[in-house]
């Protein structure tokens, strides 16, 4: 056990560098667990470490890769990192992440690519009015950054759902017998006043699905700001972006500082401004995430122009399933602003029958209008093509 302790601590450090949330508590738990399994049994040893140090399925691959690399020869005392021992490039990403963590080859994240931000935002009122109705696509860099600041001030007032919890409230509709009785104790059992309570309400979970393919590039930048603002404004927001693939950026967006958050997003995002396969992305979402994030009356905001590279294959089915598994599916479409907007593209025709609402998002005013819609309840505005 004594020889093992430094190895365990070192292994914990390796896992942490590989991005797993492993702290002293996990190392202690692992040490305790190892007292209950025979050392000679490698699989039990692995299972014991995994049960105590890893808390979610998504981390198993990284753990297993790190385990295989680290405990190659458990008899050896802890080795200093060997810089010559570069992993071959054919290793899968998880292994590379684990071995990089082991060699300490983490590089400071570069902060290039983001345009400089102007601080002299002394816009006049008329400028500001202009900004409200200006299309995102037509904005200059300066106007864009002002718009981003505006967006950060938006609050989404989703209509609240009742929960099954109560709080005391003197004008509440229900009698709180427990509190009433407790009050009566002060008066020797005489019930002089009746305590009341009211149901607690809270906003439903919100899921944002944003298209970041080439045709959406100009909007995607500002909509990402919108997503960041929403994600930091309320609890229970899940954010995804998709082009040809679907990526969950919830954790990355949770960082309060937008620049840091976008940096984190760009690290995990494989396809900025590529093609779109909306049907496939929605299908992935339905399979992998819908059951995990769409509970408890969730509202989905689907942000896309509906222009699908793969000819809307499978889109209708995926959209239908999605609309059935959430309380409200709202499609935000930057193309909708054109007065003569006709649902001609196959993707748009496939999507339209299944969304509960179709809104425009091309300028600040439309975002404002969206905020107003979200507070109006019901799925009564079902729109059909």
């Amino acid at each position: 056990m004594n020889a093992l302790a430094p190895n365990l601590i070192a292994f914990g450090r390796v896992l942490r560098r590989a991005g797993l949330p492993v702290g002293p508590a996990e190392a202690l738990g692992a040490a305790e667990a190892l007292g209950h399994v025979p050392f000679s049994d490698r699989e039990a040893f692995r299972a014991a470490l995994r049960a105590t140090m890893v808390h979610r399925r998504d981390h198993f691959e990284v753990f297993d890769a790190a385990f295989d690399l680290f405990w190659r020869n458990p008899d050896l005392p802890i080795r200093p990192p060997d810089p010559d021992e570069q992993p071959p490039d054919t290793f899968p990403a998880a292994t590379r992440r684990a071995s990089e963590a082991m060699l300490g080859a983490s590089q400071p994240r570069s902060s290039a690519g983001e345009p400089e931000r102007r601080q002299d935002a002394a816009l006049t009122v008329s400028d500001n009015e202009l900004l409200q109705s200006l299309d995102f696509e037509a904005m200059s860099a300066e106007q864009l950054s002002e718009a981003k600041r505006e967006i950060r001030r938006l609050v989404l007032p989703l209509s609240e759902r009742p929960t099954r919890r109560f709080r005391s409230d003197t004008t509440g509709p229900r009698i709180d017998l427990r509190a009433t009785l407790r009050g009566s104790m002060r008066l020797g059992g005489e019930i002089a006043s009746i305590a009341r309570r009211r149901q607690i309400t809270r906003p439903p979970p919100l899921v944002l699905l944003c298209d970041v393919s080439g045709s959406m590039a100009r909007y995607a930048q500002i909509l990402l700001h919108f997503m960041h603002a929403v994600a930091n404004d309320r609890a229970r927001v899940h954010s995804f972006v998709f082009g040809t693939r679907l990526t969950n950026i919830t954790r990355a967006l949770r960082n309060r500082d937008p620049e840091v958050a976008f940096q984190a997003v760009s690290h995990i995002l494989p396809d900025w401004s590529g093609g779109t396969r909306i049907g496939e992305a929605l299908d992935r979402f339905n399979r992998l995430w819908a059951r995990r994030v769409l509970g408890q009356g969730a509202v989905v905001l689907l942000i896309t122009d509906g222009l699908d590279r793969s000819g809307a294959e499978g889109l209708s089915e995926a959209a239908e399933r999605l609309s059935h598994s959430c309380r409200r599916l709202i499609w935000l479409n930057p193309l909708l602003r054109f007065a003569g907007f006709q649902p001609r593209a196959a993707g748009i025709r496939a999507l339209l029958p299944h969304v509960h609402e179709h809104r425009q998002v091309h300028n600040l005013n439309s975002l404002r209008a969206l905020v107003a819609t979200l507070s109006a309840d019901g799925r009564s505005h079902r729109r059909s093509a």
Binding site: P21, A25, E26, G29, E32, A33, H36, V37, P38, D41, E43, A44, R46, A47, A48, R50, A51, T52, V54, H55, R56, R57, F60, T163, R164, R165, F166, L177, R178, L181, R182, S184, M185, G188, G189, N286, R287, R291, R292, V293, L294, G295, Q296, E317, R321
Partner: protein
């Protein structure tokens, strides 16, 4: 009565086996550790992979009283831990008045007596120790309940403000399951030993089937398992069948007096195996015949 905790992993595995649960080595290790270390087990996995079953088998084999808390949205203290029986309390006040009782503190003590407290699963598991507490589908509960659960799991005690703290004499064995319809909070995860319950491989699934449905003919059983395993690979189906569905399907086909898997009976009973219309539609006709043929080949 089995030794508690079981002395080693093999003994734990044998214990589960004796209860009809065929566990792989990693799961047996996790269960063994949970019993030895007195930590809760968090079991995550697709629906129908036998998470709840582990708790039931453990309870039967240890043996311990199984206390089950089925979680749901907005679950509150009253349905999870305890509730005061206000009707009986009011009655007690009336009776005290009728008897001319005037001592306030005596009345108060009498009113918040243990006999007016209705225990719900969490309190039952703590008072009625030794128990096995199954917190089923924790993902259905909401975050405030998880926060409350943290206290219970940390010290195995519940504080009732009017009565004081109630402690468990013997800490209950705790099994928590989640279907991942929502992510369980990290704080809960960190208190538990974590295990992801995966679909079993063909050999283990046949063993499970032999245990759970002994009447099914061996040939049919092997074909059904091969068929179900075939559905799980890849991304074709929205909800591939779990082990529970495989067992049900084998039973259904046996009930129809089938000794082997045939396309017509398979088509008629597909609803036992697959629970989504799109998935069933995808399997009709030639595709089904092809897969049945494949399963029969794989099983022979």
């Amino acid at each position: 009565m089995a030794e508690f905790p079981p002395p080693d992993i093999a003994a734990t595995q044998a214990l589960l086996e004796a209860g009809g649960y065929v566990a792989d080595r990693a799961l047996a290790t996790t269960v063994h550790l949970a019993l030895a270390m007195g930590r809760p087990i968090l079991l995550e996995g697709e629906p129908g992979t036998g998470k709840t079953e582990i708790a039931k088998v453990l309870a039967a084999q240890l043996p311990r009283r199984l206390v089950r808390l089925q979680c749901h949205d907005g679950m509150d203290l009253a349905s999870a831990a305890y509730e005061w029986n206000h009707a009986r309390q009011l009655m007690a006040i009336r009776l005290a008045e009728a008897a001319g009782e005037a001592d306030r503190s005596a009345l108060e003590r009498g009113l918040y007596d243990r006999r007016f407290l209705e225990p719900r699963p969490l309190l039952q598991a703590i008072e009625g120790s030794p128990a096995l507490l199954l917190i089923d589908e924790l993902d259905r509960a909401d975050e405030p309940f998880e926060a409350f659960l943290l206290e219970v799991l940390a010290d195995f005690q519940i504080t009732v403000p009017e009565l004081g703290t109630i402690r468990a004499h013997t800490p209950p064995v705790v099994v928590i399951t989640s279907n991942r319809t929502r992510e369980v909070h990290d704080a809960i995860r960190r208190r538990c030993l974590y295990h992801w319950v995966d679909y079993p491989d063909a050999a283990r699934e046949r063993a499970i089937l032999a245990r759970r449905a002994p009447d099914v003919p061996a040939a049919l059983s092997a074909q059904v398992v091969a068929f179900a395993q075939g559905l799980r690979g890849g991304d074709t189906f929205f909800k591939p069948p779990g082990v529970a569905e495989t067992v049900d399907w084998a039973r259904a086909l046996t009930a129809l007096n089938r000794r082997e898997l045939e396309p017509d009976a398979a088509e008629a009973t597909l609803g036992v195996l697959l629970k989504y219309q799109d998935d069933i539609a995808r399997l009709r006709g030639a595709e089904l015949a092809r897969r049945v043929e494949e399963a029969r080949e794989a099983a022979s």
